[in-house]
């Protein structure tokens, strides 16, 4: 009886409205905020200048970094993604090193390395020249670009490799040359595979630029911090920054949505209005593509042209020699870099590393005060602990929200959707600050140590991401199974528990391990609220010793790398176990 009512749309809308009403009523009348809002700080000139202008300035810098670093990332990603497919081993190894190294260390550590350690690798004159050129800004921009580039390279490689072997064989046996196969078969299919995840990398890149604040670039997060530390208006500053980030994320997501719509294969009679809009927007590109076809057609080769004249043969030989020389040069360059790295390692002050290694692993456990978190536990141990707790918690959130997100009932679906999109549109650094300085105190009225605040923030943050993974897993289960379950009389929860979730979870396992790696790397952001995890411990040690930044940041990077890399190997093995069919396209 009740159930049948809940299936009606108007009942669902009414319930949603009632829910919203309840929330509004609670916060407006029952809840004691104990905080007086003053939005005027952004429009009036205060003692320390105009805060609104400060924020605008921050938005401008954020946008600039985002655009530049996205361009750098795309270039790096394409080059290294293709290099990962190379049959020439040194190129492949080099690209693999780049991808694995940068994907498995936190961006924050990379930024610290570029900013604090790299300048000391140059002689003094060059260093001063560098510092004259807005070094921090470029450090953040290039740093974000290189970081995101590693992820894009992996996406591009995976996209190209995702082409089924049969299609290639079919293309070759119907007489297409490699360039033709590339143009007609590989790229169109690969693009469909590549562009959606590439788009979300652009989004992540935008959010990651918020880390530039840690090295003193006055972007949006920096401006926000400046505003609340000068005017003590925490809520107002946070809200404005969050809204701006959400707006930026939503606009990027909107663009991605249109692009994805354009990429979908639709039957001609079922074209959606949005697709029409997308078609209009993409018309110039389509036009260019069609005209290019003529160009290619004009330069086509007939089979008899493929016989080689002596001159051509000479050219071919020259080309081959040139490639060989290039390859040799490349190997020489790699050898030189390796030599430099080995020499640098040789000159490392290993004593410093040895003396501080234990500190990096556990900080001062168990000698800390009893008022400290877990007797002064910190360093790598607390990073791992934080990641483990938050992923365990966010798995529960993700499961519930992911199920709600796939539900047909609006009462469940819309709140879950809002939660996911809200959290995913905001940088983690901002989520942590929100939780530590605003939500836990004002809304939940609890006061917890920084470690727990960061863990709770990360739990809610990763909950949204896991929910998306769960949704993907659930939606991948063939609809027939659900119908069969319904037909055999199982309730919704039974269907979920006995049929859908066991299969979906198994498929999601590699993604979950990946999420754990991401969480482990992101614990470095708890740095911002002073949790003594690995990054903060390294920072504190570097602060004390001052003259060995290379040694310390390299050690920390290696620690992060070792853990993330081995977990990612594990994830890969899981993935292979679950889907054994992959091939390797070589170029």
């Amino acid at each position: 009886m009740f159930k049948r009512y809940l299936e009606k749309i108007w009942v669902q809308n009414l319930a949603l409205l009632a829910l919203t009403g309840l929330v509004v009523y609670y916060f407006a009348f029952i809840f004691e905020f104990k905080y007086d809002f003053d939005w005027a700080v952004f429009v009036v000139e205060g003692q320390y200048g105009h805060m609104g202008h400060l924020m605008l300035n921050g938005i401008n810098t954020t946008l600039t970094i985002t655009l530049y670093s996205a361009a750098i990332a795309l270039a790096m990603g394409t080059i290294f993604g293709l290099a990962r497919l190379s049959s020439f081993k040194p190129v492949y190894w080099f690209a693999t090193c780049y991808v694995e190294l940068f994907r498995n260390t936190p961006l924050l550590i990379q930024l610290f390395f570029w900013n604090f350690a790299l300048p000391y690798a140059f002689p003094e004159e060059i260093r001063f020249k560098l510092f004259d050129m807005n070094f921090e800004f470029w450090c953040a921009t290039v740093g974000c670009g290189i970081f995101t580039g590693a992820f894009m390279a992996e996406i591009i490689r995976a996209g190209i490799q995702s082409i089924p072997k049969g299609l290639l064989e079919a293309a070759y046996s119907s007489g297409l040359t490699f360039p033709q196969t590339l143009r007609k078969v590989i790229l169109p299919l690969a693009f469909r595979e590549i562009i959606p995840p590439l788009g979300s990398e652009f989004l992540n890149n935008m959010k990651n630029t918020s880390l530039a604040m840690t090295i003193g670039v006055s972007e949006l997060c920096w401006s926000m911090t400046e505003v609340y530390s000068l005017t003590y208006r925490t809520f107002e500053a946070f809200s404005v920054a969050t809204l701006v980030y959400l707006a930026l994320s939503l606009s990027i997501a909107g663009i991605l949505y249109i692009v994805n719509e354009r990429l979908k294969i639709m039957p001609r009679d079922r074209i959606t209005p949005l697709r029409r809009v997308a078609d209009i927007l993409f018309w110039p590109l389509d036009f260019l593509g069609r005209k290019l076809e003529y160009v290619f057609w004009y330069f086509r080769k007939s089979p008899d042209q493929r016989t080689v004249s002596p001159f051509k043969q000479f050219l071919n030989r020259l080309g081959k020699d040139l490639t060989k020389a290039l390859k040799f040069l490349f190997v020489a360059a790699i050898a030189y870099i390796l030599y430099m790295v080995v020499m640098a390692l040789f000159h490392f002050n290993w004593e410093i590393i040895g003396a501080n290694f234990k500190t990096l692993l556990i900080w001062r456990f168990p000698e800390g005060d009893e008022t400290e978190f877990c007797f002064g536990l910190g360093g790598l141990a607390s990073s791992l602990l934080m990641a483990a707790i938050s992923i365990a918690g966010s798995f529960l959130i993700g499961l519930a929200v992911g199920m709600g997100r796939t539900s047909k009932n609006r009462v469940f679906r819309i709140p879950c959707l809002l939660y996911i999109e809200l959290i995913r549109g905001v940088p983690l650094i901002l989520v942590i600050l929100w939780f530590y300085q605003a939500i836990l105190e004002f809304v939940f009225k609890v006061d917890v140590q920084a470690f727990w605040a960061a863990t709770i923030a990360m739990t809610f943050f990763f909950g949204a991401y896991i929910a998306e993974t769960v949704r993907g897993g659930i939606e991948n289960i063939p609809a027939g199974q659900v119908e069969a379950a319904k037909a055999s009389g199982l309730t919704y929860l039974q269907t979920m528990r006995k049929i859908i979730l066991p299969q979906a979870l198994k498929q999601m396992l590699p993604a979950l391990v990946g999420m754990f790696i991401a969480a482990f790397k992101d614990t470095s952001l708890a740095y911002i609220i002073g949790v003594m995890e690995l990054t903060r411990a390294a920072y504190a040690i570097n602060n004390r010793i001052m003259i060995y930044p290379f040694e310390i940041y390299t050690t920390v990077a290696v620690l992060y790398f070792v853990f993330s890399y081995f977990m990612s190997l594990y994830a890969k093995r899981l993935e292979r176990k679950l889907s054994p069919e992959t091939i390797r396209i070589e170029m």
């Binding site: 840690t214 003193g216 900080w363 005060d369 006061d447 602060n543």
Partner: protein, 274 residues
């Protein structure tokens, strides 16, 4: 499933144990016998982490002494220049007092309360030895300071006064980053309270020197929750007691005495109420 339930319960318990209760600070502190103090961990020599990874400094010693005299345990909470005000401003306050080399300013006093002045400092500039002959040289230098402090505002105003219409002052994230900027040559001078400059300059002896005059007075006060006079009185009396029996001088000499690493003569007296 049962394991999950137990874990969830345990987690809830842990959270509940650390929940603080609202109410006037004095009553709360006296009933729980724990004082939460907001301290910096980057401000040499006020609060920093030493070679043995211990959190020490003048402010830390003062906080420990205050807690000892009130018969309470001290819980140290990290604050930085951006959070030191907001942590006592919330209700209930995240920390009961903030000792984070914070200048007592009227603007800040609108938001939180301050104890009597417990340390007297002033803002100066630090530069490489020999680069600054005259204060005027500073005008066209790239200067570093810290985000969220009044030092950055003072410095910009001072450089403008010296005749540079568009001074380049960068706000770094904390003392470490600021000093790093000076050491690596990103900026030619840094500016903040002179004792902190001394503390960092002592890390690489002989390379840097304080230049120019004090450009502002910086009397430090302990940040306290707004409108809680019982608590404020307790803190004020305790500071005066610490001064009266000579403990203050002992702590001062340990950090700033003639034989210490950061010599800085004591010029003023703490305000005493008979």
């Amino acid at each position: 499933m049962r394991v999950l339930k137990i874990t969830a319960m345990a987690a809830l318990l842990v959270m509940a144990a650390s929940v603080a209760f609202a109410g006037p600070t004095y009553d709360r502190v006296m009933s729980t016998k724990v004082i939460k103090a907001g301290l910096s961990n980057q401000g040499i020599p006020f609060g920093f982490i030493n070679d043995k990874n211990e959190w020490v400094g003048f402010d830390v010693d003062m906080a420990t002494e205050i807690a000892k005299r009130l018969g309470c345990k001290l819980e140290k909470v990290v604050v930085n220049n951006n959070t030191r005000i907001s942590f006592v401003q919330t209700n209930p306050p995240k920390v009961d007092m903030v000792l984070s080399n914070m200048t007592h300013k009227r603007v800040r006093d609108e938001k939180i309360d301050f104890s009597i002045t417990y340390f007297f400092d002033g803002q100066k500039f630090l530069a490489k030895k020999g680069t600054v002959k005259d204060a005027k040289d500073l005008a066209n230098m790239k200067v570093g300071s810290m985000q969220g402090t009044t030092s950055i505002v003072n410095a910009t105003a001072y450089l403008k006064e010296l005749g540079n219409a568009n001074p380049q002052v960068t706000g770094y994230d904390g003392e470490v980053a600021m000093f790093e900027a000076l050491r690596s040559g990103r900026v030619q001078a840094i500016t903040t309270d002179s004792t902190i400059l001394l503390g960092y300059a002592a890390k690489v002896p002989g390379q840097f020197e304080l230049v120019g005059d004090f450009i502002s007075d910086e009397p430090y006060g302990i940040g306290l929750p707004q409108d809680d006079s019982a608590w404020r009185d307790t803190i004020n009396f305790t500071i005066q007691d610490i001064w009266k029996d000579g403990t203050y001088l002992k702590i001062y000499d340990k950090w700033f005495g003639a034989n210490s690493q950061y010599p800085f003569p004591l010029t003023s007296k703490i305000e005493m109420w008979p």
